[in-house]
Subunit: 311 residues, 3 copies
């Protein structure tokens, strides 16, 4: 049985297999597998648009079925106090795989211990979001034809942003140069960085660059990966003075012509809608659409384990 | 690409085509199209029973698939502040058409500008509800065998009632005589009518009749169209004294034997349950059921563009 | 038309038919019926994990379709004040059967009077939960090879626990000896038992045993059926001192080796997770899984009325 709970759960070989299938699905979307007897459970205890819709659409395309709790914090037995362990064990009795999102960053370890079916992490609080990282990698390679050696800037909430936590694992595996620019909270005269938790720091070669310098970096970057400030994960009493790097019509032209501007979405004000039609802005079409293809390939890989052959 | 965002988006010819298909689907519900590869997104940021269930059932009957956010205000990225533009663009990456309801009356124009797939308006706040108008028209014609020349009374909340805003467009197109009876809010000695916003007033021949006279009108009406007072759309501090015309066992017999009593539902107290079994009460069976048939035809028209031929 | 609104709606013969089909489905899960044109409505106005997921998975396995309101209290027209009668009549226009959960214990009688399609009670507030009772019966018979004559202990919230209300009907029909141990609320020096409402007391042979004695009973029991205290159904201002029998690693060995420990789930503290791997603990695997098989058989029985023959 094959879980995908952390980006570390797949080897580079396995990732390459999934991304190969992704390419084949992309180019032959008219063929689909007939998974009539397969059903996945989507169990989301935090909001989602892209992740849930793309997983469900993927399963439908594969000919399978889906049972969903889109608002599991209110509509499932979580509301009556059921534990994650009991929930996971229950879902495994009714489905061939579980796709789950929950605010507790530790739920994946409970799933790993107790689930009798494969579980895919669709977001674990401020922990990980490994399928987002897979689709980000695929998008980067589509744009550049390669991944290794690229210079990637990560910007925004490095503390609570689960997408960067997973993505860093992949970027490191493929040998990218990572520059990360944490947002900061200004408390009067002191500053608190929304930096990367130690557990997500990979061995090397990481370079820490502060927010103020971000504009200077742009001309060298091959990939600019922007993220939202996750204010809903911060204990706060009143407004905070949060400062972060943003891209808009004024600084976008500092960026290379071939670069990819990515964002896992939803966005706040870190990317101005005025640059949405810029050819470097890949967050709206390519990256979102790749979520569908990558998750289709991943579900197929986890549920079947052998590639679709087009007729 | 063909949106159905406003009642003005379909010409009379196109409406007749959809209603012809509706009749054919009604009489041959056992045949269905095999839309295995098609999937719609249902995205509802306001409550719905009839509209969402009938759209989803319709898509299932056509052999297609559905991905749904039934409570999108809490379970989707809207909750994290995502814009309608970003939401629409995302949904279009995963589905062949979007069926959307949202409280902002201006969302359809955002959809028109940014969507890459057809979008169907399933309710735009206090704006429009064009698929309801289509099924109302179909129900009226079923009852009378025609639409032109009929006398139609519209009663209730003309300000916030999106169903009447769309229906008036059709009634005008087909040459009905419209009598509308707005509810009113009594503030001490002054009265505020819940009248029709100017943008929904069609050229002519409209006659404004006040609530107090409604009973006198009944004997001449071919269609009585009742609507709920949309208190949830009113800024209010405390109880309001709202007065509106209602039908109950006392005045129902003033209505013609052949007339249709319609209501988009849900209802408040404007129609007494005591008349539910009256043969003129078409809101519970015929009108609700027609929602399924009309929406099936509409989805088929928008997704395929040519009619189902029964085997 | 065949409703399953109360445990009294099926005769012993009909129950045996459904449980016979259940066994056949269990052993041949790879065969499924092709219910392409059938669709059920799942309408849940209270939280659910097991009941809803297993009904939907069952319908998918049968090849049918599902339209769902998982959080109907907020996402359906109930939110706008629609009555249960109007809701039931509407759902019946769009689906071949309705599976409904709602906090009002009287909704099943409204459904019985007004629905034009079969309705299955998936929970009626503190009233009944008859499909849970069916799966409990099936689980007991699987364990013991028979039901008649078994000694069954029911423990927990007998007042608000809808699962025991339905189960008692079956246990009585099959001639079990029932021992029920209500939880109690201590108010200073007085005690209020969460006892069985009179309407669910069956003629005989029931024996009332108080909570304090539960440990002494264990050695004689063939089935131990634990239930959660339904605090959400109690009018309360502040904390209550509720005392109830619990099973944990200290008293579990007082139970017979062959006994079944059951729980409809979700659980509170009445069963310690420390005994989850005990061979007598059937609530996590066998009982949960049986919910899927029994509900598949029931849907097939209600929608088709004749058994699936494996090819």
């Amino acid at each position: 049985m094959r879980h995908f709970l952390s980006i570390d759960d797949l080897s580079m070989d396995q990732i390459e297999t999934v991304l190969d299938w992704t390419k084949s699905i992309e180019s032959g979307w008219q063929y689909c597998r007939s998974m009539n007897n397969k059903c996945i459970s989507c169990f989301f205890a935090e909001p989602s648009t892209r992740t849930r819709f793309s997983f469900e659409r993927a399963m439908h395309w594969l000919g399978g079925r889906v049972v969903t709790a889109a608002d599991a914090s209110t509509s499932s037995s979580l509301r009556k106090g059921e534990s994650i362990k009991d929930t996971i064990r229950t879902l495994g009795q009714y489905s061939d795989a579980i796709v789950m999102r929950h605010p507790d960053p530790n739920w994946p370890e409970v799933a790993r211990e107790y689930s009798r079916v494969p579980v895919i992490n669709a977001g674990s609080g401020s922990g990980e979001h490994p399928t987002q990282a897979l689709l980000d990698l695929h998008t980067i390679r589509q744009k550049w034809g390669k991944v290794g050696g690229l210079k990637v800037m990560l910007s925004g909430d490095m503390t609570n942003g689960r997408t960067v936590h997973s993505l860093i694992g992949l970027l490191h595996m493929y040998g990218c140069k990572i520059f990360y620019c944490p947002a900061k909270i200004v408390h009067g005269s002191s500053v608190e960085y929304l930096g990367l938790p130690e557990k997500y720091l990979r061995a090397q070669p990481c370079t820490m660059v502060e927010v103020e310098c971000a504009n200077d970096l742009l001309k060298d970057m091959d990939v600019i990966y922007m993220t939202r400030i996750q204010t809903e994960r911060m204990a706060t009493d009143g407004d905070m003075d949060i400062r972060y790097f943003a891209i808009d019509e004024k600084n976008v032209d500092l960026i290379k012509d071939e670069a990819a501007i990515l964002h896992p979405l939803p966005r706040g004000k870190e990317i101005s809608p005025l640059i949405d039609d810029d050819p470097r802005a890949d967050y709206h079409e390519r990256q979102v659409r790749n979520g569908l293809y990558v998750r289709t390939a991943l579900l197929d890989y986890i549920l079947y384990g052998n590639p679709i052959i087009a007729p």
